[in-house]
Every structure is written in C-alpha cells, then in structure tokens.
C-alpha cells in the first residue's frame, strides 16, 4: 500500500472494504450534518444545565466549570466516534428479512465486514464530529483542560481503541441474538437508554455513589469513553493498568464467544424472505 508495509491479499480485501464504506458515506452527506447537530445538542445540554448548576459554586464533585465542560467536549467526541451501534440494528433488520444471507456467501467474515464498515464510517465522520465537539471551546470561551502528560495521552487513546473494538464485538454479539429471538429492536432501544447512563455520556460517573462505581469497574463500559476522558482531564490515571487488563479480558471473551455463537446459529438460519 505505502511501499513500507507488505500487503497481504487478506489485508488488501479488508482495506478495500474500508475504502468502499468511506465512499458510501459520501452518498449520505446530510446525515453527517445532522449527526453534528446531535453532538451540538449534547454540548448545549452541558452548557445550559451545568451553567445553572455552577451559579455561585466553584466546584461540584471536584469538577470546576471549565473541567466539566471540557469533560463533555471530549466525551461527546469520543462517544460519537463509536459507530458500532448501528451494527446490531442492521443485523436485526437483515436477519429478519433474510438479506443477512449475503454476508454468509461473500468471502469475508461477517464480523470483519462489520468492523470494516464501522472503521469506514468513523473515518468519514471524524472531521465533522471533531468540528461539532471542539467548536464550543471558541463559542463558550472557557479554559479547555487537557493533560500535558504524554504517557497519559497515549494510554487514553490506546484505551479508546480497545473500547471501540470491544463495542464492535459487543454490538455484533447483540445482533447475533436476532437469530434466536427474531426481533431485538425494542431490547436495543432499552440498551441504548441504559448505556447512555453507565458509559458516562450523560453525566460523569464520578458523581455516582462510590459503591456503584466499584461495580461499574468490572464492566467494560466504564472504560469505553469515560475513563479515557478522565485520564485526558488529568484524573484517574492510577486506574490505567486495571483498565487494560479488564478491557483485554472482555475482548478475549467476546473473541471466543462471537465465532462460536455465529457458528451455532448460522445453521439454523432459514433466510426467510429472500
């Protein structure tokens, strides 16, 4: 590809898939604009609500106002870059109407196909989401807080990548459950509601009672966007080793469970509706 890294046929195949998915997004350009609006709404929520909460207060739960808004800038950017949520919805739809069979006959593993799709989307959206998140620094005119420690920055971004990989595996697994339950749409919507709370997308998890946080630390969702955001704000860096171990363990579990689940259910798929 670039003359330095030898390109295997398998790698070339998946790179092509990523390229195709980036190009596909060009057809839906206005979606990018409206996804920016969604990010802006999140930022506006933080600005309005926390603006009034901080009236007459210096800190809340150890957060200054600038730190709180910085939290939402970083977290809304990181959460929006996780494009894997659509995988389970797409699988739910395609398994039910029978068109999932196309993923069974093309010479690509279904999970790898969806991974390429997620990467392709993320690459297309990164500029829009970045702009929508960070433009508020200039609009709100607050002191944007971010750590200067290079090791913490590297740790946070590595954790983010592991988090995105896990979310892709997780949503693929949920999608596979359609083979068993036929329609998981409502379950996915409830999952989205719960996920917004436990991932720290709505409020920083540090506001929750200590006992609840202790339980969350065993789950992978704590490490997806919340912990990387906190590390970049210069907090919670002592949790990095535990974060890596937990995330790698969860990724390993799903790396085993997903192919086994697919192998089990694919033989039961009738492809009704083709």
């Amino acid at each position: 590809m670039n003359g330095c890294i030898p390109e295997s046929p398998v790698m070339k195949k998946y790179l092509e898939l990523i390229k195709i998915n980036v190009k596909t997004q060009l057809i839906w350009r206005t979606d990018a604009f409206f996804s920016m609006i969604s990010v802006c709404a999140k930022m506006l929520f933080a600005y309005l609500l926390w603006g009034i909460i901080f009236e007459g207060k210096e800190t809340v739960a150890g957060f200054s106002y600038s730190m709180m808004i910085s939290y939402y800038v970083l977290n809304s950017f990181f959460s929006s870059m996780d494009m894997s949520g659509s995988i389970s919805y797409e699988m739910d739809d395609k398994i039910r109407n029978g068109s999932f069979s196309k993923y069974m006959i093309i010479p690509v593993l279904p999970q790898a196909y969806f991974l390429c799709q997620t990467i392709g989307k993320a690459l297309f959206y990164v500029v829009f989401t970045f702009t929508a998140s960070f433009i508020w620094i200039f609009i709100f005119k607050f002191d944007f807080i971010i750590t200067a420690n290079a090791l913490h920055v590297v740790s946070a971004f590595t954790l983010l990548l592991l988090g995105y990989l896990f979310m892709q595996q997780f949503h693929y697994y949920l999608g596979l459950l359609t083979f068993k339950f036929k329609n998981i749409f409502l379950f996915l919507m409830i999952k989205d509601n719960i996920f917004s709370l436990i991932s720290g997308a709505v409020i920083p998890l540090v506001l929750l009672p200590h006992e609840v946080i202790s339980v969350f630390k065993f789950l992978p969702f704590y490490y997806i966007s919340y912990l990387p955001t906190m590390i970049l704000l210069g907090r919670n860096s002592e949790e990095v080793p535990q974060a890596f171990i937990t995330m790698l363990l969860w990724i390993l579990v799903l790396a085993v469970v997903n192919p086994a689940t697919y192998k089990y259910y694919r033989t039961k798929f009738e492809g009704a509706g083709i």
């Binding site: 802006c40 709404a41 609500l49 809340v60 409502l186 509601n193 929750l208």
Partner: protein, 267 residues
C-alpha cells in the same frame, strides 16, 4: 358544530376498536413502547437524583420539582404515544407513496383520521409510571397543591399535549413540500432530548427565546410544573395559552397549504 364534534367522537371510538383488533395480531410488541420509554424516564430520575446528591437546587428548583418535571414530561409523552404519535409519524410515508389519496376521499378530516387511527393502548402503563414519578416528586418537594393549582396543572398538561401534537404535525407536514423529512425529525429528537434534560428554568437569553417561542419544546413540561408550584402569573397563563393557540393555527395553515400542494404520487 355540535354534530361535527359528535361525529368525530364516534369516529374516534371506531378507530380505537379497529386498532385493538389489529394490535391483537402483534401481541409481543404490545407493551414495547412502554418498556422503552419507562427505561428512559427511570434513568432520567436516577441522573437528576445523582446530580442533586451534590447540589441543593438547580435554578431555584429542588429535587422534588425536578422529579415533577420529569414525571410531567413523561405524562405528556405518554399521552402523545397513546393518542397520536403512531398515526402522525406515518404522514411523510403517506404523502410520498400517494396513499394519502385514500384519506382524502373519505368523509372524515384526513388529519383527524391519520392522527387517531394508530392509538397505542400498550403505552397506557406509562401513565401509571408518570403519576408515580409526579407523586414521588410532590412528596419530596413537600408541596400541598391547592385545587386551583391542580386545575391549572391539568389545563397546562392538556394544552402542552396539543402543542406537542402541533409540533409533530408541522414537521411532518413539510413532506408536502420537500422530498424527505427524515433529517428534520432528527432535529425534533435533538430538541426533545434537550428540553427533557434541561428544564426551561435553566434557559437564558437567546436560548429562552428559541425554546419558549420558536421551537417551544422548553415550555412543555416546565410551565405545568410552575403551575403546580403556584409560580405562573395570570399573564403567564395567557402568554403560554397564546403560544399554543398560535402554533395550532400554524399547524392548520401548513396542513391546509400542504394538501393544496399535494400531487398524489400514485395517480
């Protein structure tokens, strides 16, 4: 006028009967909207309880008033889901596919029939959840509302349900003029999410103007809560009733203009 109202009431009950007959075919998803929306509102309660563990008030509202706010939003949303949501959301498809023709040829107001033909009784338990949250909020706030305040609260809940309906119809009636309203409804979702998480009391300056009078999602649950707490003045009652009236007139105008603009895709 009286016979027209009686006719519409009879049609409403006939549509309800037909809807029940159809819903029995899909029993599994009967309570689906209830579970989805309940999870959303319970999580919202948890979020504000978490915030109130660190602060005493938000914009002068204590935890009790915030709970009443969430319960009221849930109540208006429940009425929306039960009565007209699943009907109104079909407008763009009916315009695009031309199936609106079938409604125009019937001796019933097309908008009335579309709005109420998909009543969703599966969302009825949402009313129970909403009243439970409101009751919990009233207890937490230690408010003993007077009968006048309760009446005013009920009045505002009813007219805000009408306002919610107006906003839904206005946005979807744009399908008469543009090819797709999918992305416009995304703005509606963003506005609703924002107004649901940020009460009107937190709005200042431009944002207050925007969410009170231009995209009036900010008043939908805030004003009823203020009514229950005895906060709005007589001027406020007239002002917000006026806002609802103006948006209802705009809805009627856009719908009527849209029908004139409708070309019928199928013929």
């Amino acid at each position: 006028m009286k016979s027209s109202i009686l006719k519409n009431i009879r049609i409403f009950f006939m549509l309800l009967k037909l809807r029940f007959a159809r819903l029995t075919e899909f029993r599994l998803s009967f309570f689906g909207p209830f579970f989805v929306d309940s999870s959303l509102f319970v999580i919202q309660v948890l979020i504000f309880k978490t915030i109130y563990a660190h602060v005493e008030s938000i914009g002068g509202w204590g935890q009790g008033q915030m709970l009443i706010f969430i319960g009221t939003f849930s109540l208006i949303n429940a009425l929306n889901m039960i009565l007209y949501f699943f009907g109104v959301i079909t407008i763009p498809d009916k315009v695009k596919s031309g199936s609106l023709d079938l409604y125009l040829t019937k001796p019933v107001s097309p908008l009335f029939r579309i709005s109420f033909e998909n009543i969703d009784p599966g969302s009825l338990p949402l009313l129970v959840t909403s009243f439970a949250i409101i009751g919990y909020g009233i207890t937490t706030a230690g408010i003993i509302p007077s009968p006048a305040h309760i009446l005013l609260y009920v009045y505002f809940v009813i007219i805000m349900t009408v306002l919610w309906y107006d906003m839904e119809v206005i946005l979807r009636s744009l399908s008469f003029f543009i090819i797709s309203v999918d992305n416009i409804t995304k703005i509606e979702v963003a506005c609703l999410e924002l107004s649901f998480t940020v009460p009107g009391i937190a709005l200042r300056g431009f944002f207050k103007l925007l969410f009170y009078f231009i995209l009036p999602y900010g008043i939908m649950a805030t004003i009823p809560v203020q009514a229950l707490s005895g906060q709005p003045s007589l001027n406020g009652v007239f002002l917000f009733s006026g806002v609802v009236l103006v948006f209802t007139l705009i809805t009627a105008l856009i719908w009527k203009t849209g029908l004139h603009h409708y070309n019928s895709a199928s013929s």
